[in-house]
């Protein structure tokens, strides 16, 4: 039912016909390109048979006219319907107007490198400023414990601690099982079955349980902090908080940081217990080490300092995760995709920093022979 749009050259007159509207434009463009333009000094366009024309159609006609004019030929338009005339005049400038180039397009690599370094620099300074601010707020809160929002803090302990118990338990139990299995294979060869206790006890208590819990919580809670605070920023809730004279630091960051600092060591103790229990089951099944033997050996083989070192790291992990999550939340501005991006960054950076901190601890403690 729609008429085709055509453009053709007949006796040095360019004839345009049909409905010059979006559905037909793609074919029209191809036809226009294949056309042999007349070489006469004046080119006549006959558009009397154009039945419909939209913005795109007007633009194509305009481009044809411009192209001919560019070659120094005169043009004349014939039979243009008055209702298309206004549209044609309206679009006249659009082809000639230079297109705005997108940011990042057409930049040399030096410029791009400079920009990347600059933005890194800015974000480093911002992150340092955030750490500073939160440290000050931390100190103030310690001096005046009344200013801590206990209700919010306890809620964080519940949501990010108590409700994380099932998943942390399951994961560390499985990790305990895996370590015991791998150890059992080797220990049986030497007939030193009872050392399974040392292996499972020390590795879990000192390193693995705190790390597993921290990674889990970074994924579970760090991301939530970033998304929550970011969404509050997007919906102007943060601005509302500020104008009500409440510090977002006190309202949002401190309860999360304090709450996690309390919850993470507790979760780690729980993870220790469940993980070692997983190891005990495998020790019994694979190496015939009974529960009684296991526990008796545990007391002499695993000095309490390993437990303390593991638990000592947990609050630092917690602070890292909470601060990274909140910081990334505050960095979100505007868009929906920004929320996604910063949430991802909060998890990746949180886990990265936790592992770096853990490695530093290992090196330092090794120096001090602990």
């Amino acid at each position: 039912m729609e008429q085709q749009a055509t453009i053709s050259v007949e006796d040095n007159v360019i004839r345009c016909r049909g409905s010059w509207t979006l559905p037909n434009l793609s074919r029209l463009e191809q036809r226009g390109r294949a056309l042999r333009w007349p070489e006469t000094p004046t080119v006549l366009y006959d558009v009397g048979e154009v039945t419909a024309m939209d913005t795109g159609g007007a633009l194509i006609l305009q481009r044809c006219i411009d192209g001919v004019r560019h070659k120094g030929q005169q043009t004349a338009l014939q039979g243009l319907k008055p209702e298309f005339d206004e549209l044609l005049r309206k679009v006249e400038v659009e082809w000639s107007r230079p297109e705005g180039s997108g940011a990042g397009r057409g930049m040399s690599w030096v410029e791009r490198l400079t920009r990347a370094v600059q933005s890194r620099q800015v974000s480093t300074i911002r992150a340092l400023a955030f750490v500073g601010e939160s440290t000050i707020a931390f100190g103030r809160a310690l001096i005046r414990p009344r200013s801590i929002r206990w209700r919010a803090l306890l809620r964080i302990v519940e949501v990010d601690g108590v409700r994380a118990l099932p998943i942390t338990g399951l994961l560390t139990f499985l990790v305990g099982v895996v370590i015991a299995y791998q150890g059992a294979e080797q220990l049986r060869k030497f007939g030193t079955n009872i050392f399974i206790v040392d292996l499972v006890g020390i590795s879990l208590l000192r390193e693995i349980a705190p790390l597993i819990v921290a990674i889990l919580i970074a994924g579970r809670s760090g991301s939530a902090y970033a998304a929550e605070i970011g969404t509050m920023k997007v919906t102007e809730e943060l601005d509302a908080v500020r104008t009500l004279g409440i510090s977002p630091m006190n309202l949002l960051v401190l309860p999360r940081a304090f709450g996690l600092v309390i919850a993470l060591p507790l979760l780690t103790v729980y993870a220790d217990v469940v993980g070692v229990f997983g190891g005990m089951l495998i020790a019994l099944g694979e190496l015939n080490v009974s529960f009684v033997e296991f526990v008796a050996r545990f007391e002499e083989a695993v000095p309490v300092r390993h437990l303390l070192i593991g638990l000592g790291k947990a609050p630092f992990f917690a602070a890292i995760i909470a601060l990274v999550g909140c910081y990334q939340g505050f960095q979100i501005r505007g868009g929906v995709d920004d929320v996604g991006r910063h949430t991802t960054i909060s998890v990746v950076q949180g886990i990265f920093l936790v592992i770096v901190f853990d490695a530093l601890c290992s090196i330092l403690l090794n120096w001090w022979d602990l």
Binding site: L22, L25, S26, G334, G335, V336
Partner: protein, 269 residues
Amino acid sequence: MPSVTNIEIPVIDVSHVATKFGQAVVHEDVTLSIHRGEIFAIAGGNGCGKTTLLREIIGLITPSAGTIRILGVDSRQLEEGNGRPIHRRFGVMFQHGALFSSFTLAENVAVPLREHTTLSEALIRAIVAAKIAMVGLPSESAVKYPNELSGGMRRRAALARAIVMDPELLFLDEPTAGLDPIIAAGFDDLVLSLKSLLGLTVVMVTHDLDSLWRIANRVAVLGRGTVLGIGTMQELSRSDDPIIREYFRGPRGRAASEQAAWNHNGPHT
């Protein structure tokens, strides 16, 4: 482009539409028809279901009862891509713009063209530039992201995206809400000029009494779950219905009507 067809066939035909959300009844019986080439406004108090009716017409919500035909197609068939050829023939400007925040303004405006046509990149860019110019945005703003634009600019950008396919029908949801009076008046002028340039039929939901007086050819006032009155503003302002009287003759309504009369007749009459 709409060629001159039989003016009597309505572009949109809403007949006996009822809408319920659970216990809440929004519309009991709404019947109205919108003709080609007019600027039709849907007015009424807050919560009377103006936006709901608009969303039903464009197929985002299905009415509980009754039928709606848009460009001859039942709005129920618009859901989930069945009505794609129809979707090309109308544009919608949402109240808060609903621009895609990860795209620049130009990319936002180009989305329908890239999705529904196979035009060359150069032509797409030219059409986008033309539309951005038509809605009165500076060409530099094309590379900006929605969160870098002011509220009024975002509104215009949303309008540019709505008209990029040269639709026959343009839906505007509260186009002037939250704009300052100068920009709001500018927006009214913009709608008028686009209507004459592109031959649009415009359906708008609005509270803005000034734009009702200035640009609407016909107005339907919703209330009590039905259409309380339909007609030109002059007709409606003489209506006896208490809600319509309240709506148009309240202090703001009187000011807007005096302003409209002043504009019409000049200060000396």
